[in-house]
């Protein structure tokens, strides 16, 4: 519809394609560059080599950072998933004073500029002597990822038929029993999606981590510090691995939600 003349339609298509190219080309360029044999970032790469991957996997500092990132993302995503899902359920199904306020508060880390969260956490953790501690990182990442969990689980719980739960209650099941045996099994695909998003959210987090991590190095923190100092082609390998991880995670979410027929609400 709203098409207009062929000329204006062509102009629209041109801007549209340009937009898509603008969004994706930088990602598509990094991948071949990571297999370049050259030290300089020349495009197209003069030859094929795996030297930057070898440099990444052969560097104990990068490997340390990867383990820290993996442990941090695992712990904080599970904490965010458990606490966020419970809260999303309480918000959707319950009614108590201050419910809207609580929901707004849980979503706040998404709205408050991350740099401010970083500074506040830096000052707060310094005050209680937990600056540069692993527990401080886990708590901070949990708080930051709660909104992602709340968004996915909030939609899933709203769409889950309340009457199914009511049947369970009327048969004498307690609320906690109903959640464990009726609600959770039905929401499993969304729980999985929420966990993936929280995991990626934590694995990619740079700003808060750079402020509060102290001597701990995560992959993004190390990458950020190297980028500010100099351009080292090893980063192209790290970037390609991170893109691969994201593609895999999104594919997993798409397959699992698609199978459960729940794709639309999460992506749009």
């Amino acid at each position: 519809m709203t098409g207009g003349s062929p000329w204006s339609r062509r102009a629209l298509a041109a801007v549209g394609v340009f937009g898509l190219v603008f969004l994706t080309v930088p990602l598509l360029i990094v991948v071949p560059m990571s297999f370049s044999s050259a030290r300089a970032l020349t495009f197209p790469p003069p030859g094929f080599s795996l030297r930057w991957y070898a440099a990444f996997f052969g560097d104990p500092r990068w490997m340390d950072a990867m383990w820290t990132s993996a442990a941090l993302a695992s712990l904080s995503s599970i904490a965010a998933l458990v606490l966020g899902s419970l809260a999303a359920y309480g918000l959707r199904r319950g009614s108590f004073a201050g419910r809207d306020w609580a929901e707004g508060n849980f979503m706040a880390p998404l709205i408050v500029p991350t740099i401010i969260a970083a500074i506040a956490l830096y000052l707060g953790l310094a005050k209680v002597g937990l600056l540069g501690s692993f527990i401080g990182l886990v708590v901070a990442h949990t708080v930051l990822n709660v909104p992602l969990v709340m968004m996915v689980m909030g939609v899933a719980i709203r769409e889950f038929d309340l009457r199914i739960e009511q049947v369970a209650w009327s048969l004498g099941a307690s609320w906690s029993y109903t959640v464990a045996k009726v609600v959770l099994p039905n929401l499993a695909p969304s729980v999985f999606a929420a966990w993936i998003f929280a995991f990626i959210g934590s694995f990619d987090e740079v700003i808060v981590t750079s402020f509060i991590a102290g001597r701990y190095e995560t992959v993004p923190k190390r990458m950020f510090n190297e980028l500010v100092l100099e351009v080292n082609p090893t980063i192209t390998a790290v970037a390609t691995l991170l893109i691969g991880l994201t593609v895999l995670a999104l594919a997993a979410v798409t397959v699992i939600l698609g199978r459960a027929g729940k794709l639309r609400p999460t992506l749009a």
Binding site: F22, L23, A87, I111, V112, T114, A120, T142, L227
Partner: protein, 276 residues
């Protein structure tokens, strides 16, 4: 017990609420306190006075505003036609287009920012193409200046505008546009009098969202600016990590927080209109 529990549901929310209050609200409150407090003196506005007196702060603020405005404008100029074009695509092509917008959205900002170094560098793709086509002799300096920072920010934020805008456009009923056409309205009139006004709340909401995110941007200016394009966030980094002046940092953070929340309140109002 069971009945009581069912009537409130507060028990499910309580654990997260405790965590949020301790690990998010309390630190922010503490930061606000630092901004208005001085040892021995109690309440003070002295830290704000300090901001007004130092021209460097005002310059950084002006920088941030200008870059945020330009990046937001670029987003609208690319994002609106892109979303509109996606709406008109056939099913399969539309899915591919959505995937191409969603995927970058989830890829680490660090990776997306870094890739611009590869694309825009002196030996990068863009400069190669420019030199090959004979448009320029010398490589164009895209990086480590405001141009690079603006391009990088527009790129990172584009999905934030396109996705909600596309969602609003897809909700517009085709029959409405057909009705206008059957009444004899030319395409241009249909677009400006019917279609565009219907997308305006979503456009305004998306624009505000992008603008808030621009104001607090940290990574992209730090990397693509090469330290030569200071924005508020980078100034805050300096005040916390390099020359510790926590009170000053707290005062600036408070301003940024209040401005962001005000714009967000406007966004919420528009977003509600947009999703009606």
């Amino acid at each position: 017990m069971n009945r009581q529990e069912r009537s409130t549901g507060f028990g499910f929310v309580a654990p997260l609420l405790v965590l949020m209050v301790v690990a998010f609200n309390a630190p922010i409150a503490y930061m606000l306190g630092l901004a208005f407090w001085d040892k021995g003196q109690g309440f003070t506005l002295e830290h704000y006075q300090g901001l007004l007196e130092a021209p460097v702060y005002l310059r950084v603020l002006g920088n941030t505003m200008r870059i945020a405005l330009i990046a937001t404008l670029a987003n609208v100029l690319i994002g609106y036609p892109l979303a509109h074009w996606m709406r008109g695509l056939q099913n399969r092509a539309r899915l591919v287009a959505i995937a191409l917008v969603v995927l970058p959205f989830w890829v680490s900002i660090l990776v997306r920012t870094y890739s611009w170094i590869v694309v825009l560098g002196n030996a990068g793709l863009v400069n190669r193409a420019l030199q090959w086509s004979g448009l320029t002799e010398q490589p164009v300096q895209f990086l480590y200046n405001e141009l690079g920072v603006t391009i990088g920010m527009a790129n990172v934020l584009l999905p934030f505008l396109v996705l909600p805008l596309f969602a609003a456009m897809i909700r517009i009923d085709d029959r409405l546009l057909q009705a206008a056409a059957s009444l004899g309205a030319p395409p241009r009139t249909i677009f400006w009098k019917v279609y565009f006004p219907l997308t305006l709340p979503a456009l305004a909401a998306g624009t505000l969202l992008v603008f808030i995110l621009c104001l607090g941007f940290y990574i992209t200016p730090a990397i693509l600016g090469g330290g030569r394009v200071p924005m508020i966030s980078n100034l805050l980094d300096t005040l916390i990590n390099q020359i510790p002046r926590w009170e000053q940092a707290s005062a600036i953070s408070t301003i940024l927080l209040v401005v962001s929340l005000l714009i967000f309140a406007a966004y919420r109002r528009l977003d509600r209109t947009a999703s009606l």
